[in-house]
C-alpha cells in the first residue's frame, strides 16, 4: 500500500518535471526573451545585463535547474504583455477559475453518475434512451456553442441571468469569491452548466457502460442465483464495482476541467486563468503560457493522486499487502 502511494507520488513528480521542461524550453527558445523584455531601443549593455540577470549566459542544464527552483517558489518571471510578475497576474485570476472549475466538477459528477446509473438500470426505458441520445448530441456540441446557446436563451431572451463576468465579488483575505453575493451566484450558473456539460455526458456514458459491463459479470449472476433483490444487486454490488473504473477516468477528466475552462471563460468573459491563457497565446506571452502549463500539470498531478487514494479506499485488493493474496 505504501509502495502504491509512493509510486503515484513518483509518477506525479516525473510528469511535473517533464511539463516544466517543456515550459522552460518554450520560455528559452520561443522568441528572444531578452528582446521581449527590454524592447527594441535598449542598448547592448542593457541587454547584456538582463541576459546575465536572467542567467541566460549559463549552461542549459543550470538554466533549467534555476527555472525549476524559481518555479517551485512560484516565480515565473515577468509577463511580456502586462509587464508585471506572472505570479501576481495569475494569483489575481485564480479564484475565478477555481470556483468555476470546482462547481462544474461537482455538478458533472453528481448529475453524471446519477443519470448513468439510471440509464443502466432502465436500459430499455424510454427516458433512459432519450437521455443517451441527448448525451451523444451533447458530445457533438462544441462547448462554446453550448455557452452561446445558454446565453441566448437565459440572458438575451429570458433575461434571467447575466451573460458575462463574475457579478459582485467579496474579498476574503487574498481570495475574491462570487459565492457570497446574489449576482455572483447568478453569474456562476451559466458558466458552470457550460463547463460541466461535456464532463457530465462523458461521466454518464462511462457509468452506464461500466455498469452494464459489471451487470454481466459472474458475481452479479451468482448474486441473482442467491435470490438477492434487484435493488440490492444494482446499488450495492454493481454500483461499487462500477465506480472503480469510473473513478480513474472521471478523475482524469475532472483534472482537466481547469484547462477546459479556457473556452468557457472566453465565451462568458470570465476573468479567470483560461481567458488569460488565450490572451497569452494570441500575443505569444511566453512566460504566462509557461506558468499556466505548469499550473495545469500541477492540478492534474494533485487530482491524480487523489484519484489513486480514492481507488485505495474502494478496492480492497489494492489495500492488501501483496503477500496476503492467495
Amino acid at each position: 500500500m505504501f509502495a502504491y502511494i509512493l509510486r503515484s507520488l513518483l509518477q506525479g513528480a516525473v510528469v511535473l518535471i517533464a511539463v516544466a521542461f517543456i515550459a522552460f524550453s518554450m520560455f528559452r527558445f520561443v522568441g528572444d526573451p531578452v528582446a521581449n523584455m527590454v524592447g527594441q531601443e535598449a542598448s547592448m549593455a542593457d541587454r547584456e545585463e538582463l541576459t546575465k540577470h536572467l542567467g541566460l549566459d549559463q549552461p542549459f542544464p543550470i538554466q533549467f535547474l534555476r527555472f525549476l527552483g524559481k518555479a517551485a517558489q512560484g516565480d515565473f518571471g515577468i509577463s511580456y504583455r502586462q509587464g508585471r510578475p506572472v505570479a501576481a497576474v495569475m494569483a489575481e485570476r485564480l479564484p475565478a477559475t477555481v470556483e468555476l472549475a470546482v462547481l462544474s466538477a461537482i455538478f458533472a459528477t453528481v448529475v453524471g453518475v446519477a443519470l448513468g446509473v439510471y440509464a443502466a438500470i432502465r436500459r430499455h426505458g424510454l427516458v433512459a434512451n432519450a437521455v443517451m441520445t441527448l448525451s451523444l448530441v451533447g458530445v457533438s456540441l462544441p462547448t462554446f456553442l453550448i455557452g452561446i446557446g445558454l446565453i441566448y436563451v437565459f440572458a438575451v431572451e429570458l433575461r434571467w441571468l447575466p451573460s458575462f463576468g463574475r457579478g459582485e465579488t467579496v474579498r476574503l483575505g487574498g481570495w475574491t469569491t462570487g459565492l457570497l453575493t446574489k449576482s455572483g451566484l447568478q453569474s456562476l450558473i451559466l458558466p458552470v452548466l457550460t463547463l460541466g456539460f461535456f464532463q457530465l455526458t462523458l461521466i454518464m456514458r462511462l457509468v452506464r457502460s461500466e455498469m452494464l459491463e459489471v451487470m454481466r459479470s459472474d458475481f452479479i449472476r451468482f448474486a441473482r442465483a442467491r435470490g438477492i433483490p434487484n435493488r440490492v444487486i444494482e446499488f450495492r454490488h454493481a454500483l461499487r464495482n462500477t465506480m472503480i473504473p469510473v473513478v480513474t477516468i472521471a478523475g482524469l477528466q475532472l483534472g482537466s476541467v481547469i484547462a477546459f475552462a479556457i473556452v468557457t471563460e472566453t465565451v462568458f468573459q470570465w476573468p479567470g486563468l483560461g481567458a488569460l491563457f488565450v490572451n497569452a497565446v494570441q500575443f505569444a506571452d511566453v512566460p504566462v503560457m509557461a506558468a499556466y502549463l505548469v499550473f495545469v500539470a500541477f492540478v492534474f498531478v494533485v487530482v491524480n493522486l487523489a484519484t489513486d487514494l480514492a481507488y485505495l479506499a474502494l478496492d480492497p485488493r489494492l489495500r492488501a499487502a501483496p503477500t496476503a493474496a492467495r
Binding site: 510528469v15 511539463v19 458530445v139 441566448y152 484547462a259 488565450v278
Partner: protein, 327 residues
C-alpha cells in the same frame, strides 16, 4: 430509405431479412455480412451517413454550387447587407436562403466555403495524427524496452491533457516563432499540425497493443529464420488487424478535430476572417447575438453541429458494430 438496394425486389428481400437470391455469391455474402446488415437496419447510421456525405460533397463542390464567392469583394453588394433568411431584400429584392451578413455576404455560400476549410483541417489533421500514431505505435510495440516506455509515457501524459490545451500551446509557440507577416497564410498548416499533434496517442495505444500480440506469434520468428525482414512481415500482419479500431478512432477523431478547429477559430487563434472556417464564422456571428440578426450566428452554428453530430453518430455506430477493444 434503403439506398443500397439496387431493385425493389431486393429491397423487399432485404426488409424481410433474407439475402436477395439473385445476387452473385460474393456480393450476396457482403450484402448479408453483419456489417452491412446492421447498416441496413440502423436508421441512425443511414441518415447520419447521408447527412455527412451530403455536407462533405457540398463543401468539396462549393466553388461550383454556391451562389457567390463570399470572399470576392466584387461579388458583394452592401445593399444586400443584413437580409434575413428567405425574405426579399428591401432594396434589391434578392432572396438569400440563409440571409446575409452586414457586408451583403450570402451566409449559405459562406457556410459552404467555411465547411470546406473546416473539413480540410479536419481530414488533414486526422491523417496527420493517424500517421504519427500508427508509426509510434508500431515502433513501441516492435522495439519494446525503453523506446516503448518513453512513447507510451508521452502518450499517457498527452491523453490526460485536453487536446485543446495542446493545440493552443502549439499555436502559441507558432505565434512566438513565426514573424507576424507570414502568420496569416501559415495558419491553416499550423492548425493541422496543432490538432494532429494533440490526437495521436489513441492510435498509438491501439496499434501498439495489436503489434505486441502479433510479435509474439510464431510467424515472426519463422520469417526471421528464413531471412525475411520480420518488421516488414509484421507490419503487413498488424495493419489489417488494426483497420477496424483505427477506422473507429479516426471517425470519432474527425468529429473531434472539426470541433477542435472550430473552437480554436472561435477563440481567435485559428482561421482569420479572410479565410474563415465555420468556427470563425461563429466568432463573427456572435457579435449579432444581442442585436437580433441571429441568422448570422445560427446558420454556421447549425452547420457545425450537423457536421459534427452526423460524423459522431456514424463513429458511434461503427464502434458498436466493429466493437473493437479500444484502449
Amino acid at each position: 430509405m434503403d439506398q443500397h438496394a439496387p431493385a425493389p425486389t431486393r429491397t423487399e428481400a432485404a426488409l424481410a431479412g433474407t439475402p436477395p437470391d439473385r445476387l452473385p455469391g460474393a456480393l450476396a455474402r457482403a450484402w448479408d455480412s453483419d456489417f452491412l446488415w446492421s447498416f441496413r437496419h440502423s436508421p441512425v447510421a443511414i441518415v447520419s451517413s447521408l447527412v455527412a456525405v451530403a455536407m462533405i460533397l457540398a463543401a468539396v463542390l462549393a466553388p461550383w454550387i454556391s451562389p457567390q464567392n463570399p470572399f470576392d469583394p466584387a461579388q458583394l453588394d452592401l445593399m444586400d447587407g443584413l437580409t434575413p433568411p428567405m425574405t426579399p431584400n428591401e432594396i434589391s429584392q434578392r432572396i438569400f436562403i440563409l440571409g446575409t451578413d452586414p457586408q451583403g455576404r450570402d451566409m449559405y455560400s459562406a457556410i459552404l466555403y467555411g465547411s470546406r476549410v473546416s473539413l480540410l483541417v479536419g481530414f488533414a489533421s486526422v491523417i496527420f495524427s493517424m500517421a504519427i500514431g500508427i508509426t509510434l505505435g508500431l515502433a513501441a510495440g516492435y522495439l519494446g524496452g525503453r523506446t516503448e516506455a518513453l512513447i507510451m509515457r508521452i502518450a499517457d501524459i498527452q491523453l490526460s491533457f485536453p487536446a485543446i490545451l495542446v493545440a493552443l500551446l502549439v499555436f502559441g509557440i507558432f505565434r512566438g516563432v513565426v514573424p507576424p507577416a507570414q502568420q496569416e497564410q501559415a495558419t491553416l498548416w499550423v492548425l493541422i499540425v496543432a490538432i494532429g499533434l494533440s490526437n495521436w496517442a489513441q492510435y498509438a495505444r491501439t496499434v501498439r497493443a495489436t503489434t505486441m500480440v502479433e510479435k509474439s506469434k510464431v510467424y515472426v520468428d519463422a520469417a526471421r529464420l528464413i531471412g525475411l525482414k520480420s518488421f516488414v512481415i509484421m507490419v503487413k500482419h498488424v495493419l489489417p488487424n488494426v483497420t477496424g479500431p483505427v477506422l473507429v478512432i479516426a471517425t470519432i477523431n474527425l468529429a473531434l478535430a472539426i470541433i477542435e478547429e472550430a473552437t480554436l477559430s472561435f477563440l481567435g487563434v485559428g482561421m482569420p476572417p479572410t479565410q474563415p472556417s465555420l468556427g470563425t464564422l461563429i466568432r463573427i456571428g456572435q457579435q449579432f447575438l444581442f442585436s437580433g440578426e441571429l441568422w448570422i450566428l445560427a446558420s454556421p452554428a447549425l452547420a457545425l453541429i450537423l457536421l459534427a453530430l452526423s460524423i459522431n453518430l456514424l463513429g458511434d455506430w461503427l464502434r458498436d458494430v466493429l466493437n473493437p477493444r479500444l484502449r
